[in-house]
């Protein structure tokens, strides 16, 4: 597509900075600070970080609805500021929440309206809307007004809207907020399909299990800065290279006995009755498991560190406080 014949990345962000003015003598706020990111076609890329980290700010700049203060952002080689008009049709955008849908129109009307905006003809728009409503489980409610939808139903419609223009690049900002567990799982299948079709997905989520299940790579962002960009499977090694055992319903005395076993490095309490056993050599996990199961503990797993643990490790233990 480009002169060199190499396809441009789906998303390429370099030195991206956005400063919000504080107003009336208050300090300015740097929501994005020299942020870098590359997402390739066919990649599902997770954007993870605490409330106020700058995730939505980045998604908005990529969606051409917010201007950067400095730095560049490109979608399939096109600059989101200079080429905004050509970028928009390439993108599918899903923001969590209530905005962006026409409350007085039905679900079907909303989708047909957006299909027309993306240049689909009447017949094609109808077919596409029907197909997508089916895909998000809203066919039976197609002719109900959006204002009568529950929160999760609206979120499903958001998702359908994001896909209407057959986009090469999807920006999904907390797409599963408010979805029930079954639809959140169906969402995972949907993202797998999008990836298989060679589309690129930038996904922000606070659900670490969701990110772990879906993402080829994740970028951790905090205070507008990139902390780390990695394959989630590699990230676990940051914390531990040996097997660990997790269990719940473990009495104190049993935990003490486990701590005595050979190859057990540490037994950590992770909650009421819950422990995490770290080992420091191969093969040490099995005796731990045997002891737990023999004692009647039935909720046990050996597992590499979860993405949630990696998150806590990287973002640090600052409690609930939001960085100012």
């Amino acid at each position: 597509m480009t002169i060199t014949g190499i396809d441009p990345p789906a998303v390429e962000v370099s030195g991206l900075t956005r400063v919000f003015s504080g107003g009336r003598g208050k300090a300015d706020h740097r929501a994005l600070d020299a942020f870098d990111l590359t997402v390739t076609p066919g990649e599902v890329h997770g954007l993870l970080g605490p409330n106020g980290a700058g995730k939505t700010t980045l998604c908005k700049i990529l969606s051409t609805v917010l201007l950067p203060t400095s730095g560049t952002a490109r979608v399939l080689g096109l600059d989101v500021v200079a080429d905004a008009k050509r970028v928009r049709p390439l993108l599918g955008i899903v923001f969590g929440g209530e905005r962006g849908l026409y409350a007085r129109m039905t679900a079907g009307q909303n989708l047909r309206f957006w299909a027309a905006l993306y240049g689909l003809g009447r017949r094609a728009g109808r077919a596409r809307a029907a197909e997508l409503l089916d895909r998000v489980g809203l066919s039976a409610r197609a002719d109900n007004r959006v204002e009568t939808f529950s929160r999760g139903m609206k979120q499903r419609l958001h998702l359908a809207r994001g896909m209407i223009g057959d986009p090469r690049v999807l920006i999904l900002d907390e797409p599963t907020v408010g979805m029930d567990p079954v639809s959140a799982h169906e969402f995972r299948e949907l993202v797998e399909e999008l990836r298989a079709e060679g589309r690129a997905v930038l996904l922000t989520t606070h659900d670490m299990a969701e990110a772990e299940a879906l993402c080829d790579r994740v970028s951790f962002i905090d205070g507008g800065r990139l902390l780390r960009c990695e394959d989630p499977r590699v990230l676990g090694e940051l914390l531990s290279r040996h097997e660990r055992v997790r269990a719940t319903g473990v009495p104190e005395a049993l935990a003490d006995r486990i701590a005595e076993l050979r190859g057990v490095e540490a037994v950590r309490r992770t909650g009421p009755g819950a422990i995490l056993v770290e080992t420091d050599r191969d093969g040490a996990a099995l005796p731990v498991l045997r002891m737990l199961v023999e004692a009647g503990t039935t909720d046990v797993s050996t597992a590499p560190p979860t993405l949630e643990e990696v998150y806590m490790h990287l973002i640090g233990d600052r409690g609930m406080a939001v960085r100012s």
Binding site: P50, N51, P181, L286, L289, R290, T302, G319, M320, S324
Partner: protein, 277 residues
Amino acid sequence: MNDAAIRVRGLRKAYGNVTAVADLDLDVHRGETLAVLGPNGAGKSTTVQILSAQLPRDGGAVAVLGADPAKADRRFRSRLGIVSQTAGDLLELTVEEVVRHFAGYYPRPRDPGEVIAEVGLAAQAKRKLRQLSGGQRRRVDVALGVVGNPELLFLDEPTTGFDPEARRQFWHLIRALAAEGTTVLLTTHYLDEAEALADRIAVIADGRIRAAGTVAELVDDREVTVAWEGGSKTTDTPTALIAELGAGYAGEVPGLTVTRPSLEDAYLRLIGQEASA
């Protein structure tokens, strides 16, 4: 029946030809935390809105703190705290202004500054709501729900948009309130949240209660599933199976897990969607 904070019998609510709540029975004891689970459109928010005196009902008997919410007066309302699913829009006010303003509605409010700190917004107290991120705004909603020091707290998906640390801190906050005797009615789609907070869980689908009870009552845990890379087996003698596997693999069994049926399994069974995996 003085220990009932909420007692509902045969509650009904329809919007036009859509039945949102159909013949729903529910009890919440004083001091209890009850979590309501259910699919999108099951009727959770409708129920919460009726019980918290925000929406009239079509039929059924309802007593909330001994009174009928349909006849709620200001004094009754001041005993409730509400975190709705749809957020308010006082976007031009600062965090501090909004929380102070709401505290003014209640006879014995908690200290607004303390509440702001508890939801992790101390550094943002002087910012306008418009300038907050999505998760920060949701934290304001939670602050408004608890600032009145309510006897009964309604939380409709309170932690949507919360980052993982904020969610854990929120759990601490709610546990502390529950320990002081606050009754909590919580809806959530996060099953771990329900397990972490609730004394009892009610599962609702199509406007009806499918089951209610403690996690232990809802989850059938006789059979244990042992899974490893390459297979899985459901058994009531997991020790023997693990020993066998360990011998077969000569030590480390890759990806070994031993799990009792989870709340998720029970949830899927109750709403009529058995896990396909």
